[in-house]
């Protein structure tokens, strides 16, 4: 019996939490159409809100691979729903690194878990890749596609090749902060309820 291999139960857990994370990201994503600054604020919003299911997920992780598989699933879902298909490598890479970091702490040490969550959250930035990489044609496309110049300017003021670095850092920072928020919620509800 090899205990390091993922079992059916683990795959089901991954599936459930991926679905939850996607629902959170989708709910936040819908807000993004209201104003482009909200698109940029995903780096704050999603790590904070998403951290609640994620921190619960972390309590279920015992073996290497669960975070990585989750990132692969997220990449596939993002690809299917047309959000940031240029970012797939980034999503999977951040998942893999996050997995390795958390593994170092045996998935138990909170410090490493927090950093791991910060890294994992970088996948959110993958959504911005099309904006940054194809900036000029994207902008042209948006304007000619009916978006107002105001929306586009705001969007590009918020997201461009210079700010992407800032966004990545913000994402990481709020990912780490989110880890504390999520941990607090997990402690307040799930630990108190004796579920984890």
């Amino acid at each position: 019996m090899n205990d390091n291999k993922l079992k059916a139960k683990d795959f089901i857990t991954i599936g459930i939490f991926t679905a939850l994370i996607f629902v959170v990201e989708f709910a936040c994503g819908m807000l993004g159409f209201i104003h482009p600054y909200i698109v940029a604020s995903f780096v704050v919003l999603i790590p904070l809100v998403g951290s609640i299911p994620m921190m619960l997920f972390y309590t279920k992780i015992e073996k290497f691979g669960m975070l990585t598989i989750m990132s692969v699933l997220i990449a596939i879902i993002m690809f299917i729903t047309g959000m940031g298909w240029l970012g797939a490598p980034l999503i999977i890479l951040s998942g893999l690194i996050a997995d390795l970091i958390a593994k170092k702490g045996g998935y138990k040490r909170f410090k490493l878990t927090a950093i791991s969550h910060g890294v994992f959250c970088l996948w959110i930035c993958a959504n911005y890749f099309p904006v940054v990489v194809t900036a000029e044609s994207y902008r042209k496309g948006l304007i000619e596609g009916g978006y107002s110049a105001e929306y586009c300017d705001a969007l590009f003021r918020a997201i461009n090749s210079k700010t992407i670095a800032v966004l990545l850092i913000l994402c990481f920072v709020f990912g780490v902060i989110g880890a504390f928020v999520g941990k607090a919620v997990v402690r307040k509800h799930f630990e108190k309820a004796g579920i984890v």
């Binding site: 019996m1 139960k9 307040k188 509800h189 108190k192 309820a193 004796g194 579920i195």
Partner: protein, 476 residues
């Protein structure tokens, strides 16, 4: 066939529900019924046989379990898949596939059976269980009873020698229970060994070869087939079990005029998007300050009516007249409080006391005292600071009732409050309902539990195809 040898098991981190020094031998072809109050260890015994303990649920295990000559602790679950089949309690959560065909063949596909054989078996099982009309459907469109039958079929396809059923009837109505009974009878005639952990016993009266009563993880009484058939309702009552016969429910047609205040429902017409299910009730008079049972088969519109009375369906045009006031859907939401079948959906906060305070509309300094008074009424005082989700099912339900009382709404609606409850807890619910009536509330109970209706309801509404077929006080 099955042998438990001095087995002791305690769940990790949970004190309840373990078994202690349990020894048991079950012969091939036997139908064994495990019963007893909640937490007596019958589900644990079932899990020891199907291998979920120790492979899935973790805890301390001593002693040995042998099934078909295999030591369970040393056998992987997937190797047991063709040997022991399991039907679970909750039809909603045991499905992996989203279509019936896929669900039936799921197990056989997992263990790599050749497709041709799987299909042949699927057709044979569907024929034997007469469920051809359920094939090719989406799981999400099935009733609880239909789902449970599909679950039985998906076990049957693997043709295991042993079949374990863990409270399979909890969420079923009488009709579906009849169907379940037929399936168990069929399995018995095929020579399967069957182990059933159950609260509702009447449907197994003729089928069970042996009945084991557990208490605190130990077998306290053993009955053989003859003794089971001789059990009277007084006997089961003494044993703390649900009766062996289904009580009859009759409406009284002599005195149909409603005494006292009346709730008048008018124009309750509502159809779901699928166009099939719904209710059509032009006018219905219900007595206020009584316990009213709404019964009928699955799909007759019981829950729909309850949701509409509560005002949860915005599209419903119907009105409820109470104390001379006509209430539309939105206003009804402020006058009704529903205790849902799955109370987990309506518990939001981090402690039982907060949960009650959340419902208090008039914010005053006395809130906490008032909350504590309500908790005391429902025997929840010692749990006030606990997380609602840490409680047992019955306690969760009482927490929901407590916040219903706190909201000071006059109408309380219960959706299947006794599904999956043992006798003691069923009686507890019945007492609670009576208490609410004494407090002056109107209590509406959607239920197919005849025993509950017998024990506390005053008035009965029977629905058929969305119409009120019967509306009268409950007779003797």
């Amino acid at each position: 066939m099955i042998e438990l040898n001095h087995v002791t098991f305690r769940y990790k981190g949970i004190s309840e529900g373990g078994v202690y020094d349990l020894s048991l031998k079950i012969r091939g072809g036997e139908v064994v019924l495990l019963c007893g109050a909640s937490g007596c260890g019958k589900t644990t015994a079932a899990r020891l046989i199907n291998g979920l303990i120790p492979h899935y649920y973790k805890g301390e295990l001593t002693g040995s379990v042998t099934v078909n000559g295999r030591d369970i602790a040393q056998t992987e679950l997937y190797d047991l898949a063709g040997v022991v089949g399991t039907v679970f309690q909750n039809p909603r959560s045991q499905f992996f596939a989203v279509d019936t065909d896929g669900e039936i063949t799921f197990g056989a596909e997992n263990i790599g059976m050749p497709p041709k054989e799987i299909l042949a078996r699927k057709n044979a099982v569907a024929g034997a269980m007469q469920i051809e009309k359920l094939l090719g459907r989406s799981i999400f469109g099935l009733s609880g009873g239909e789902k449970q039958i599909i679950a039985c079929a998906s076990v049957s396809v693997l043709s295991p020698d042993i079949i374990v059923l863990d409270e399979p009837s909890s969420n079923l109505d009488c009709e579906a229970i009849e169907k379940l009974k037929d399936i168990v009878a069929q399995w018995k005639s095929q020579g399967k060994t069957i182990v059933i952990a159950e609260h509702r016993l009447y449907f197994l009266r003729e089928l069970a070869d042996r009945m084991l009563i557990l208490e605190n993880g130990r077998i306290t009484k053993e009955l053989n087939a003859e003794e089971i058939k001789k059990l009277t309702n007084a006997d089961t009552e003494n044993l703390g079990l649900r009766p062996m016969t289904l009580p009859e429910i009759h409406g009284s047609h002599q005195n149909t005029d409603i005494q006292g205040d009346v709730l008048l429902l008018e124009d309750f017409r509502f159809t779901y998007k699928d166009g099939k299910h719904g209710i059509n009730i032009p006018r219905l008079e219900l007595p206020a300050n009584r316990i009213i049972a709404i019964t009928g088969h699955n799909g007759a519109g019981k829950s729909t009516l309850a949701r509409n009375i509560c005002g949860l369906e915005r599209k419903c045009r119907g009105t409820l007249t109470m104390n001379g006031k006509k209430l539309k859907a939105k206003a009804r939401l402020r006058h009704c409080y529903m205790i849902m079948q799955d109370v987990n959906h309506q518990l939001f906060t981090e402690s039982v006391r907060d949960e009650v305070m959340l419902s208090m509309t008039d914010k005053s300094l006395n809130d906490q005292q008032k909350a504590d008074a309500i908790l005391a009424q429902l025997d929840l005082t010692e749990y006030a600071d606990k997380h609602p989700m840490a409680l047992s099912g019955g306690q969760k339900q009482r927490t929901a009732i407590a916040s219903g009382i706190a909201s000071s709404k006059p109408i309380l609606i219960f959706d299947e409050p006794t599904s999956g409850l043992d006798l003691a807890h069923m009686k507890q619910v019945s007492d609670q309902l009576k208490k609410l009536r004494d407090m002056g509330k109107t209590v509406i109970v959607v239920t197919h539990d005849h025993e509950l209706i017998r024990s506390c309801c005053d008035h009965i509404v029977r629905l058929e195809n969305g119409c009120a077929a019967e509306n009268c006080p409950l007779g003797e």
